[in-house]
Symmetry: C2
Subunit: 302 residues, 2 copies
């Protein structure tokens, strides 16, 4: 299947899963952000990972959609006034701008438990042992050892630097190795952890062995970092219309980004190198996938 | 075992489970609220429910503590400025007053996934099928079908009434049946759902049959409502020192409470009646428990 078909299948399934129950306001708020237009990269990677190991798409759809719901949860809470205070996301108003802060906090909370509930409810045929493994993976990625660790350090990092003070391509040398390690930690958790979750969940559904799981973990890590570098480059070089969110905010807020730390040229160079490493991992582990290749090339040509 | 001993065991275990990892700030924030002094009613009810069906206390401790963590999660988010905006909880500053709003939001998020992770990690001996059942119960209670549904309607209800306008013991008749149904819904989900979760989780660990599970569900529902009526009565009649939180806020905010809707006398009467029904359920189902009896009597004599 092509990416466009998979995107369509995921969108349909997300719409189906995100039912509106009582109290309608909370379910509408959850559904609003989950169904914002998006590339559905994480669910597609989960489906493709499952397919590589011979699993049926139907068996991986609940886990794939759950990861998109978790992703939506992180967006809702990251956009809150007390965090990044963003008004737009994917070209639409952010959740709290539409539903208010209280409902946005609760919608995020609700998605955190609704997502694994979707897996348990719709993947019973996988058997209890596999469900427990999927839950393990989900909690590890969703919690304080995963995306939340990244978001915490992202917030902390923001306090370390004075707005506007830090960015100057000629001044990248003033950053220490510790700054670079910090940024790596943030990207590894905020971004790579969900890609890893997607890839590993799919592989578990397809009964992949530990060697393949490790290869996919490494692939997910590197792809996540590459994705984040591309995102940081785009934050420098695109317009609101292209990105659907307010740009240049990271710089203005004095936030660490790959571009502020390394400069634009080095960022592009490192992005290319990482994409190359991703291709190598896939190649060396017999994980031939047109879908993964297409995604990697899109990230490369950000 | 006596309640005091169980409380001590739960406190020790909570302290043990709530480790401080990197980034320390988020784990410290999580631990801060989980370890606030409290009666540990929910974990104790979980342990006692498990004991009634012959389970070892060790086998129920992870689930019992997970429910206290979930309870702490609801407290952290409910206290946020965008929700109830409370500065004190159990006599101490609320989480966001100590760690800031952003970390408080993330600590709540982290607890939502940390809690079931504790069950999966420390209850492997229960077997995958039972773990899946425990996860099901947890998600149902923690999400938009459970406590969150209650909190959403609590917030919505607040908008329906003008501060100070509503409370007058002689004017209780102005409230409609719909108001009363709304308050019942809020209490049923905000309060009863966690008691039900505690009782049902313990019973599942002890292999209780459906009949007993249903009895415990009914018991948990009624006990939760009774607990909430007692809380509303205390909000009227006690001092900050006794309760450890700011009082009279509900009334000032025009919030629906059992006392504002029914008056103090009727509230006390209904509380007594509910406690009587709880005793009856236990009696009729052969669920003889000194622990439950002690808890019910404490609620009655609020």
């Amino acid at each position: 299947m092509k990416i466009e078909e998979l995107t369509e299948i995921v969108n349909q399934k997300l719409d189906e899963y995100m039912g509106i129950f009582y109290p309608q306001k909370i379910f509408k708020s959850m559904k609003y952000t989950v169904l914002l237009p998006g590339k559905r990269l994480r669910p597609i990677m989960c489906l493709e990972s499952a397919r590589l190991f011979g699993a049926e798409i139907q068996d991986a759809l609940p886990a794939a959609c759950a990861i998109e719901m978790l992703h939506a949860q992180t967006l809702i809470h990251d956009d809150l006034p007390c965090m990044d205070n963003d008004d737009y996301r994917r070209g639409k108003l952010t959740n709290h701008k539409v539903f208010g802060e209280a409902i946005a906090v609760l919608a995020g909370d609700a998605l955190l438990t609704f997502a694994p509930q979707i897996i348990l409810k719709h993947s019973q045929n996988l058997g209890a042992e596999k469900l427990v493994k999927l839950m393990d993976e989900y909690f590890q990625a969703a919690g304080a050892f995963g995306v939340i660790a990244g978001q915490v350090m992202d917030i902390e990092a923001e306090k370390l630097y004075t707005p506007y003070q830090m960015y100057d391509a000629d001044e990248t040398e003033k950053y220490t190795d510790e700054d670079k390690e910090l940024l790596h930690f943030i990207h590894l958790h905020k971004t790579s952890d969900l890609f890893k979750l997607a890839l590993r969940s799919g592989a578990i559904i397809g009964n992949a062995d530990d060697e393949k799981l490790n290869a996919l973990t490494e692939f997910g890590e590197k792809m996540g970092i590459a994705f984040q570098i591309a995102d940081d480059i785009l934050d420098e070089t695109s317009t609101f219309e292209q990105m659907g969110k307010t740009l240049g905010k990271d710089k203005a807020a004095g936030k660490l980004t790959y571009v502020t730390l390394y400069g634009l040229d080095k960022a592009k160079e490192d992005l290319n190198a990482l994409i190359g490493e991703c291709f190598k991992i896939l190649d060396e582990n017999g994980l031939k996938s047109e879908i993964f290749e297409t995604i990697l090339n899109k990230i490369k040509n950000c």
